[in-house]
Symmetry: D2
Subunit: 122 residues, 4 copies
Protein backbone atom coordinates (compact mmCIF):
# COMPACT_ATOMS: atom_id res chain seq x y z
CA UNK A 1 0.00 0.00 0.00
CA UNK A 2 1.35 3.37 -1.04
CA UNK A 3 0.95 6.31 1.38
CA UNK A 4 0.41 8.53 -1.67
CA UNK A 5 -3.00 6.93 -2.20
CA UNK A 6 -4.28 8.69 0.93
CA UNK A 7 -3.57 12.15 -0.46
CA UNK A 8 -5.90 14.37 -2.47
CA UNK A 9 -3.79 17.35 -3.46
CA UNK A 10 -1.21 18.44 -6.02
CA UNK A 11 2.45 17.50 -5.80
CA UNK A 12 3.44 21.02 -4.79
CA UNK A 13 0.79 21.15 -2.05
CA UNK A 14 2.05 17.80 -0.87
CA UNK A 15 5.63 19.03 -0.80
CA UNK A 16 4.61 22.11 1.19
CA UNK A 17 2.62 19.92 3.60
CA UNK A 18 5.65 17.68 4.20
CA UNK A 19 7.86 20.71 4.84
CA UNK A 20 5.38 21.95 7.44
CA UNK A 21 5.30 18.57 9.18
CA UNK A 22 9.08 18.51 9.52
CA UNK A 23 9.41 22.03 10.92
CA UNK A 24 6.50 21.61 13.34
CA UNK A 25 7.89 18.27 14.55
CA UNK A 26 11.40 19.56 14.98
CA UNK A 27 10.27 22.60 16.96
CA UNK A 28 8.20 20.68 19.48
CA UNK A 29 10.55 17.71 19.76
CA UNK A 30 13.73 19.61 20.50
CA UNK A 31 12.63 22.71 22.41
CA UNK A 32 13.68 22.16 26.02
CA UNK A 33 16.85 20.15 25.35
CA UNK A 34 19.72 21.15 27.65
CA UNK A 35 22.42 23.02 25.74
CA UNK A 36 25.69 24.68 26.65
CA UNK A 37 28.77 25.82 24.76
CA UNK A 38 30.23 22.35 25.14
CA UNK A 39 27.44 20.42 23.40
CA UNK A 40 25.81 22.93 21.06
CA UNK A 41 27.36 21.64 17.86
CA UNK A 42 26.47 18.07 18.86
CA UNK A 43 22.87 19.14 19.26
CA UNK A 44 22.88 20.83 15.86
CA UNK A 45 24.26 17.68 14.20
CA UNK A 46 21.81 15.44 16.04
CA UNK A 47 18.78 17.43 14.96
CA UNK A 48 20.08 17.26 11.40
CA UNK A 49 20.56 13.49 11.48
CA UNK A 50 17.11 13.00 13.02
CA UNK A 51 15.54 15.03 10.26
CA UNK A 52 17.50 13.44 7.45
CA UNK A 53 16.02 10.02 8.12
CA UNK A 54 12.51 11.35 7.62
CA UNK A 55 10.64 11.12 4.32
CA UNK A 56 11.42 13.62 1.54
CA UNK A 57 14.11 15.52 3.43
CA UNK A 58 16.81 16.36 0.90
CA UNK A 59 18.88 18.62 3.07
CA UNK A 60 18.80 20.42 6.40
CA UNK A 61 21.02 22.92 8.18
CA UNK A 62 20.44 23.67 11.86
CA UNK A 63 22.08 26.53 13.68
CA UNK A 64 21.59 27.31 17.36
CA UNK A 65 22.13 30.98 18.01
CA UNK A 66 22.50 32.99 21.16
CA UNK A 67 24.93 33.63 23.92
CA UNK A 68 25.22 30.20 25.48
CA UNK A 69 26.57 29.74 28.95
CA UNK A 70 29.84 27.94 29.46
CA UNK A 71 29.73 25.76 32.51
CA UNK A 72 31.20 27.66 35.42
CA UNK A 73 28.98 26.16 38.07
CA UNK A 74 26.45 23.36 38.44
CA UNK A 75 23.54 25.41 37.19
CA UNK A 76 25.18 27.05 34.16
CA UNK A 77 23.38 25.69 31.18
CA UNK A 78 20.47 26.69 29.00
CA UNK A 79 17.57 24.86 27.49
CA UNK A 80 16.91 25.19 23.78
CA UNK A 81 14.32 27.95 23.31
CA UNK A 82 12.37 29.04 20.20
CA UNK A 83 14.51 32.18 19.74
CA UNK A 84 17.68 30.14 19.39
CA UNK A 85 16.72 27.97 16.42
CA UNK A 86 17.55 28.77 12.81
CA UNK A 87 16.68 25.93 10.46
CA UNK A 88 16.90 25.70 6.67
CA UNK A 89 15.13 22.71 5.23
CA UNK A 90 14.94 21.35 1.70
CA UNK A 91 12.09 18.98 0.86
CA UNK A 92 11.82 17.07 -2.41
CA UNK A 93 8.60 15.38 -3.43
CA UNK A 94 8.56 14.02 -6.97
CA UNK A 95 9.48 16.99 -9.16
CA UNK A 96 8.87 19.67 -6.57
CA UNK A 97 11.38 21.18 -4.18
CA UNK A 98 10.51 23.35 -1.20
CA UNK A 99 13.01 25.53 0.62
CA UNK A 100 11.51 26.24 4.03
CA UNK A 101 12.82 27.95 7.10
CA UNK A 102 12.29 28.31 10.82
CA UNK A 103 13.71 31.56 12.11
CA UNK A 104 12.99 33.90 14.99
CA UNK A 105 11.88 37.21 13.49
CA UNK A 106 12.57 40.14 15.81
CA UNK A 107 9.91 42.39 14.29
CA UNK A 108 7.27 39.73 14.81
CA UNK A 109 8.65 38.57 18.18
CA UNK A 110 7.83 35.14 16.86
CA UNK A 111 9.64 32.01 15.62
CA UNK A 112 8.24 31.97 12.09
CA UNK A 113 8.09 28.90 9.87
CA UNK A 114 7.89 29.95 6.24
CA UNK A 115 8.34 28.88 2.62
CA UNK A 116 11.27 30.71 1.09
CA UNK A 117 10.99 29.18 -2.36
CA UNK A 118 9.15 26.57 -4.37
CA UNK A 119 10.90 24.95 -7.33
CA UNK A 120 9.22 22.73 -9.88
CA UNK A 121 11.22 20.83 -12.44
CA UNK A 122 9.57 20.47 -15.79
Amino acid sequence: MNPDSFFNCTDSERAAFEAGIKLGSLFHQFIGIPVSKSNVSDVERLIETCLKIQPFVEDIKVRIKGDLKSKKNEFDYDVLSPEMLDVRLKIKYKNVKVCARLQFIEELDYPLMFVERMEAKK
Copy 2:
Protein backbone atom coordinates in the same frame (compact mmCIF):
# COMPACT_ATOMS: atom_id res chain seq x y z
CA MET B 1 5.22 43.68 9.49
CA ASN B 2 3.09 40.98 7.94
CA PRO B 3 4.30 37.37 8.23
CA ASP B 4 2.88 36.77 4.74
CA SER B 5 5.67 38.87 3.29
CA PHE B 6 8.15 36.10 4.14
CA PHE B 7 6.38 33.55 1.97
CA ASN B 8 7.01 32.76 -1.66
CA CYS B 9 4.33 30.30 -2.61
CA THR B 10 0.70 30.10 -3.63
CA ASP B 11 -2.18 30.35 -1.17
CA SER B 12 -2.94 26.66 -1.45
CA GLU B 13 0.69 25.68 -0.88
CA ARG B 14 0.68 27.98 2.12
CA ALA B 15 -2.47 26.39 3.49
CA ALA B 16 -0.98 22.91 3.06
CA PHE B 17 2.25 24.05 4.76
CA GLU B 18 0.29 25.38 7.76
CA ALA B 19 -1.65 22.11 8.03
CA GLY B 20 1.63 20.20 8.11
CA ILE B 21 3.05 22.44 10.84
CA LYS B 22 0.05 21.85 13.07
CA LEU B 23 0.03 18.06 12.72
CA GLY B 24 3.79 17.77 13.18
CA SER B 25 3.68 20.02 16.25
CA LEU B 26 0.78 18.20 17.83
CA PHE B 27 2.37 14.81 17.35
CA HIS B 28 5.68 15.66 18.97
CA GLN B 29 4.23 17.87 21.71
CA PHE B 30 1.68 15.44 23.06
CA ILE B 31 3.20 11.99 22.53
CA GLY B 32 4.27 10.76 25.96
CA ILE B 33 1.51 12.43 27.99
CA PRO B 34 0.16 10.17 30.74
CA VAL B 35 -3.36 8.98 29.92
CA SER B 36 -5.86 6.66 31.56
CA LYS B 37 -9.59 6.06 31.28
CA SER B 38 -10.17 8.80 33.82
CA ASN B 39 -8.47 11.64 31.95
CA VAL B 40 -8.64 10.65 28.29
CA SER B 41 -11.46 12.99 27.33
CA ASP B 42 -9.72 15.86 29.16
CA VAL B 43 -6.60 15.20 27.10
CA GLU B 44 -8.61 15.18 23.88
CA ARG B 45 -10.23 18.52 24.75
CA LEU B 46 -6.92 20.03 25.81
CA ILE B 47 -5.17 19.14 22.57
CA GLU B 48 -8.10 20.69 20.72
CA THR B 49 -7.96 23.95 22.67
CA CYS B 50 -4.18 24.16 22.22
CA LEU B 51 -4.55 23.76 18.48
CA LYS B 52 -7.46 26.15 18.15
CA ILE B 53 -5.42 29.10 19.37
CA GLN B 54 -2.89 28.57 16.59
CA PRO B 55 -2.99 30.49 13.31
CA PHE B 56 -5.43 29.40 10.58
CA VAL B 57 -6.97 26.53 12.53
CA GLU B 58 -10.67 26.52 11.70
CA ASP B 59 -11.59 23.29 13.39
CA ILE B 60 -10.04 20.23 15.00
CA LYS B 61 -11.30 16.95 16.37
CA VAL B 62 -9.01 14.73 18.42
CA ARG B 63 -9.81 11.18 19.35
CA ILE B 64 -7.58 8.94 21.47
CA LYS B 65 -8.18 5.31 20.63
CA GLY B 66 -7.13 2.08 22.25
CA ASP B 67 -7.80 -0.01 25.25
CA LEU B 68 -6.79 2.32 28.05
CA LYS B 69 -6.07 1.04 31.50
CA SER B 70 -8.32 1.98 34.36
CA LYS B 71 -6.35 2.60 37.48
CA LYS B 72 -6.32 -0.55 39.58
CA ASN B 73 -2.89 -0.06 41.04
CA GLU B 74 -0.20 2.60 41.24
CA PHE B 75 1.35 1.72 37.89
CA ASP B 76 -1.83 1.37 35.81
CA TYR B 77 -1.68 4.12 33.27
CA ASP B 78 -0.50 4.55 29.70
CA VAL B 79 1.40 7.21 27.86
CA LEU B 80 -0.02 8.62 24.67
CA SER B 81 1.56 6.72 21.77
CA PRO B 82 1.44 7.35 18.00
CA GLU B 83 -1.02 4.49 17.39
CA MET B 84 -3.61 6.05 19.69
CA LEU B 85 -4.06 9.40 17.96
CA ASP B 86 -6.75 10.16 15.38
CA VAL B 87 -6.86 13.84 14.46
CA ARG B 88 -8.98 15.66 11.89
CA LEU B 89 -7.86 19.21 11.22
CA LYS B 90 -9.35 21.98 9.13
CA ILE B 91 -7.06 24.83 8.09
CA LYS B 92 -8.28 28.01 6.38
CA TYR B 93 -5.86 30.39 4.71
CA LYS B 94 -7.49 33.16 2.68
CA ASN B 95 -9.79 31.35 0.25
CA VAL B 96 -8.28 27.92 0.66
CA LYS B 97 -9.36 25.21 3.05
CA VAL B 98 -7.36 22.06 3.83
CA CYS B 99 -8.81 19.00 5.51
CA ALA B 100 -5.87 17.07 6.93
CA ARG B 101 -5.62 14.03 9.11
CA LEU B 102 -3.29 12.15 11.39
CA GLN B 103 -4.22 8.51 11.66
CA PHE B 104 -2.43 5.27 12.36
CA ILE B 105 -2.71 3.13 9.23
CA GLU B 106 -2.46 -0.59 10.02
CA GLU B 107 -1.31 -1.58 6.52
CA LEU B 108 1.54 0.92 6.70
CA ASP B 109 2.29 0.29 10.39
CA TYR B 110 2.76 4.02 10.51
CA PRO B 111 0.96 7.10 11.91
CA LEU B 112 0.32 8.88 8.62
CA MET B 113 -0.31 12.60 8.26
CA PHE B 114 -2.16 13.28 5.04
CA VAL B 115 -4.28 15.77 3.08
CA GLU B 116 -7.79 14.42 2.69
CA ARG B 117 -9.13 17.31 0.66
CA MET B 118 -8.28 20.79 -0.60
CA GLU B 119 -11.07 23.30 -1.17
CA ALA B 120 -10.68 26.61 -2.95
CA LYS B 121 -13.47 29.14 -2.94
CA LYS B 122 -13.75 31.18 -6.12
Copy 3:
Protein backbone atom coordinates in the same frame (compact mmCIF):
# COMPACT_ATOMS: atom_id res chain seq x y z
CA MET C 1 6.45 -8.82 40.57
CA ASN C 2 6.69 -5.79 42.77
CA PRO C 3 8.54 -2.72 41.42
CA ASP C 4 9.77 -2.10 44.97
CA SER C 5 12.05 -5.11 44.69
CA PHE C 6 14.23 -3.18 42.21
CA PHE C 7 15.03 -0.46 44.72
CA ASN C 8 17.91 -0.30 47.13
CA CYS C 9 17.28 2.78 49.23
CA THR C 10 15.27 4.00 52.20
CA ASP C 11 11.60 4.92 51.98
CA SER C 12 12.36 8.62 52.27
CA GLU C 13 15.01 8.47 49.53
CA ARG C 14 12.48 6.61 47.40
CA ALA C 15 9.83 9.25 48.03
CA ALA C 16 12.28 12.03 47.10
CA PHE C 17 13.28 10.11 43.95
CA GLU C 18 9.62 9.79 42.89
CA ALA C 19 9.05 13.51 43.47
CA GLY C 20 12.02 14.29 41.22
CA ILE C 21 10.72 12.01 38.46
CA LYS C 22 7.35 13.74 38.43
CA LEU C 23 8.74 17.30 38.29
CA GLY C 24 11.32 16.45 35.64
CA SER C 25 8.70 14.68 33.52
CA LEU C 26 6.18 17.46 33.81
CA PHE C 27 8.68 20.13 32.86
CA HIS C 28 9.88 18.45 29.68
CA GLN C 29 6.49 17.09 28.63
CA PHE C 30 4.56 20.32 28.82
CA ILE C 31 7.07 23.06 27.95
CA GLY C 32 6.18 24.26 24.46
CA ILE C 33 2.41 23.75 24.69
CA PRO C 34 0.48 26.62 23.06
CA VAL C 35 -1.24 28.75 25.71
CA SER C 36 -3.36 31.89 25.65
CA LYS C 37 -5.74 33.58 28.05
CA SER C 38 -8.55 31.47 26.68
CA ASN C 39 -7.07 28.06 27.45
CA VAL C 40 -4.67 28.65 30.34
CA SER C 41 -6.91 27.22 33.05
CA ASP C 42 -7.62 24.18 30.88
CA VAL C 43 -3.89 23.61 30.56
CA GLU C 44 -3.42 23.90 34.33
CA ARG C 45 -6.18 21.35 34.96
CA LEU C 46 -4.87 18.99 32.30
CA ILE C 47 -1.35 18.95 33.72
CA GLU C 48 -2.87 18.21 37.12
CA THR C 49 -4.98 15.30 35.85
CA CYS C 50 -1.99 13.86 33.96
CA LEU C 51 0.11 13.96 37.10
CA LYS C 52 -2.58 12.59 39.39
CA ILE C 53 -2.72 9.29 37.51
CA GLN C 54 0.97 8.68 38.14
CA PRO C 55 2.27 6.57 41.01
CA PHE C 56 2.46 8.08 44.52
CA VAL C 57 1.05 11.49 43.58
CA GLU C 58 -1.18 12.55 46.45
CA ASP C 59 -1.86 16.08 45.32
CA ILE C 60 -0.73 18.65 42.77
CA LYS C 61 -1.44 22.28 42.09
CA VAL C 62 -0.30 23.88 38.84
CA ARG C 63 -0.33 27.57 38.17
CA ILE C 64 0.73 29.21 34.92
CA LYS C 65 1.93 32.73 35.54
CA GLY C 66 2.74 35.60 33.27
CA ASP C 67 1.08 38.13 31.08
CA LEU C 68 -0.58 35.90 28.52
CA LYS C 69 -1.72 37.27 25.21
CA SER C 70 -5.40 37.39 24.39
CA LYS C 71 -5.99 36.53 20.79
CA LYS C 72 -6.24 39.75 18.78
CA ASN C 73 -4.71 38.36 15.61
CA GLU C 74 -3.67 35.02 14.16
CA PHE C 75 -0.26 35.00 15.79
CA ASP C 76 -1.25 36.11 19.29
CA TYR C 77 -0.48 33.19 21.50
CA ASP C 78 2.39 32.02 23.67
CA VAL C 79 4.04 28.71 24.27
CA LEU C 80 4.47 27.48 27.82
CA SER C 81 7.97 28.46 28.95
CA PRO C 82 9.96 27.51 32.09
CA GLU C 83 9.39 30.90 33.72
CA MET C 84 5.62 30.50 33.64
CA LEU C 85 5.29 27.30 35.64
CA ASP C 86 4.62 27.15 39.38
CA VAL C 87 3.94 23.62 40.58
CA ARG C 88 3.34 22.28 44.10
CA LEU C 89 3.48 18.52 44.33
CA LYS C 90 2.76 16.15 47.20
CA ILE C 91 4.18 12.63 46.97
CA LYS C 92 3.31 9.84 49.40
CA TYR C 93 5.35 6.67 49.53
CA LYS C 94 4.50 4.35 52.42
CA ASN C 95 4.83 6.51 55.53
CA VAL C 96 6.77 9.34 53.94
CA LYS C 97 5.39 12.49 52.38
CA VAL C 98 7.38 14.89 50.22
CA CYS C 99 6.25 18.42 49.40
CA ALA C 100 8.17 19.47 46.32
CA ARG C 101 8.01 22.50 44.09
CA LEU C 102 8.95 23.77 40.67
CA GLN C 103 9.24 27.53 40.63
CA PHE C 104 11.16 30.09 38.63
CA ILE C 105 13.50 31.87 41.03
CA GLU C 106 14.38 35.39 39.85
CA GLU C 107 17.63 35.58 41.81
CA LEU C 108 18.83 32.35 40.24
CA ASP C 109 17.36 33.08 36.82
CA TYR C 110 16.45 29.44 36.86
CA PRO C 111 13.35 27.26 37.16
CA LEU C 112 14.29 25.42 40.35
CA MET C 113 12.88 22.07 41.43
CA PHE C 114 13.23 21.67 45.17
CA VAL C 115 12.07 19.79 48.25
CA GLU C 116 10.14 22.12 50.53
CA ARG C 117 9.45 19.59 53.24
CA MET C 118 9.75 15.93 54.14
CA GLU C 119 7.24 14.37 56.54
CA ALA C 120 7.56 10.93 58.09
CA LYS C 121 4.71 9.42 60.05
CA LYS C 122 5.73 7.26 62.95
Copy 4:
Protein backbone atom coordinates in the same frame (compact mmCIF):
# COMPACT_ATOMS: atom_id res chain seq x y z
CA MET D 1 22.00 32.98 46.40
CA ASN D 2 22.56 29.29 46.80
CA PRO D 3 19.89 26.90 45.43
CA ASP D 4 20.63 24.63 48.41
CA SER D 5 18.94 27.17 50.70
CA PHE D 6 15.57 26.23 49.18
CA PHE D 7 15.85 22.60 50.24
CA ASN D 8 14.65 21.02 53.46
CA CYS D 9 15.86 17.46 53.32
CA THR D 10 18.94 15.35 53.95
CA ASP D 11 21.81 15.10 51.47
CA SER D 12 20.83 11.59 50.47
CA GLU D 13 17.20 12.57 49.91
CA ARG D 14 18.46 15.47 47.83
CA ALA D 15 20.68 13.20 45.77
CA ALA D 16 17.77 10.82 45.14
CA PHE D 17 15.53 13.76 44.18
CA GLU D 18 18.10 14.98 41.64
CA ALA D 19 18.40 11.50 40.15
CA GLY D 20 14.63 11.39 39.71
CA ILE D 21 14.59 14.78 38.00
CA LYS D 22 17.17 13.70 35.46
CA LEU D 23 15.48 10.42 34.54
CA GLY D 24 12.02 11.99 34.31
CA SER D 25 13.37 14.82 32.16
CA LEU D 26 15.28 12.55 29.85
CA PHE D 27 12.32 10.25 29.29
CA HIS D 28 9.87 12.97 28.32
CA GLN D 29 12.37 15.08 26.36
CA PHE D 30 13.66 12.37 24.08
CA ILE D 31 10.73 9.99 23.57
CA GLY D 32 9.51 10.57 20.00
CA ILE D 33 12.88 11.40 18.43
CA PRO D 34 13.29 9.81 14.99
CA VAL D 35 15.85 7.00 15.10
CA SER D 36 17.19 4.50 12.60
CA LYS D 37 20.23 2.26 12.37
CA SER D 38 22.17 5.11 10.84
CA ASN D 39 21.76 7.62 13.67
CA VAL D 40 21.16 5.52 16.76
CA SER D 41 24.65 5.90 18.22
CA ASP D 42 24.52 9.65 17.58
CA VAL D 43 21.28 9.82 19.53
CA GLU D 44 22.79 7.84 22.41
CA ARG D 45 25.80 10.20 22.56
CA LEU D 46 23.60 13.28 22.32
CA ILE D 47 21.38 12.24 25.21
CA GLU D 48 24.54 11.62 27.23
CA THR D 49 26.03 15.04 26.48
CA CYS D 50 22.71 16.74 27.27
CA LEU D 51 22.55 15.02 30.62
CA LYS D 52 26.20 15.59 31.50
CA ILE D 53 25.79 19.36 31.48
CA GLN D 54 23.08 19.15 34.13
CA PRO D 55 23.76 19.61 37.83
CA PHE D 56 25.23 16.72 39.85
CA VAL D 57 25.48 14.28 36.95
CA GLU D 58 28.71 12.38 37.44
CA ASP D 59 28.24 9.82 34.71
CA ILE D 60 25.63 8.50 32.32
CA LYS D 61 25.40 5.65 29.84
CA VAL D 62 22.53 5.50 27.36
CA ARG D 63 21.73 2.48 25.25
CA ILE D 64 18.93 2.30 22.71
CA LYS D 65 17.78 -1.25 22.25
CA GLY D 66 15.54 -2.94 19.76
CA ASP D 67 15.46 -4.01 16.18
CA LEU D 68 15.82 -0.69 14.40
CA LYS D 69 14.89 -0.31 10.78
CA SER D 70 17.55 0.44 8.22
CA LYS D 71 16.32 2.85 5.63
CA LYS D 72 15.07 0.93 2.63
CA ASN D 73 12.32 3.34 1.69
CA GLU D 74 11.12 6.80 2.61
CA PHE D 75 9.07 5.65 5.59
CA ASP D 76 11.58 3.26 7.17
CA TYR D 77 12.44 4.78 10.48
CA ASP D 78 11.30 4.50 14.08
CA VAL D 79 10.65 6.96 16.82
CA LEU D 80 12.27 6.45 20.18
CA SER D 81 9.80 4.61 22.42
CA PRO D 82 9.89 3.85 26.16
CA GLU D 83 10.77 0.18 25.59
CA MET D 84 13.95 1.07 23.74
CA LEU D 85 15.70 3.10 26.43
CA ASP D 86 18.23 1.70 28.89
CA VAL D 87 19.90 4.39 30.96
CA ARG D 88 22.40 4.13 33.82
CA LEU D 89 22.90 7.37 35.70
CA LYS D 90 25.31 8.33 38.46
CA ILE D 91 24.45 11.38 40.57
CA LYS D 92 26.81 12.92 43.10
CA TYR D 93 25.57 15.43 45.66
CA LYS D 94 28.11 16.34 48.35
CA ASN D 95 29.15 13.01 49.86
CA VAL D 96 26.32 10.95 48.47
CA LYS D 97 26.26 9.00 45.24
CA VAL D 98 23.15 7.53 43.64
CA CYS D 99 23.22 4.89 40.92
CA ALA D 100 19.85 5.05 39.19
CA ARG D 101 18.44 3.35 36.15
CA LEU D 102 15.72 3.57 33.58
CA GLN D 103 14.95 0.20 32.06
CA PHE D 104 11.96 -1.47 30.48
CA ILE D 105 11.01 -4.41 32.70
CA GLU D 106 9.20 -7.14 30.75
CA GLU D 107 7.46 -8.59 33.81
CA LEU D 108 6.03 -5.19 34.69
CA ASP D 109 5.39 -4.17 31.08
CA TYR D 110 6.65 -0.82 32.21
CA PRO D 111 9.73 1.42 31.77
CA LEU D 112 10.83 1.53 35.39
CA MET D 113 13.01 4.24 36.91
CA PHE D 114 14.70 2.92 40.02
CA VAL D 115 17.54 3.41 42.51
CA GLU D 116 20.04 0.60 42.16
CA ARG D 117 22.37 1.76 44.90
CA MET D 118 23.07 4.61 47.30
CA GLU D 119 26.63 5.28 48.43
CA ALA D 120 27.61 7.63 51.21
CA LYS D 121 31.23 8.50 51.86
CA LYS D 122 32.14 9.00 55.47
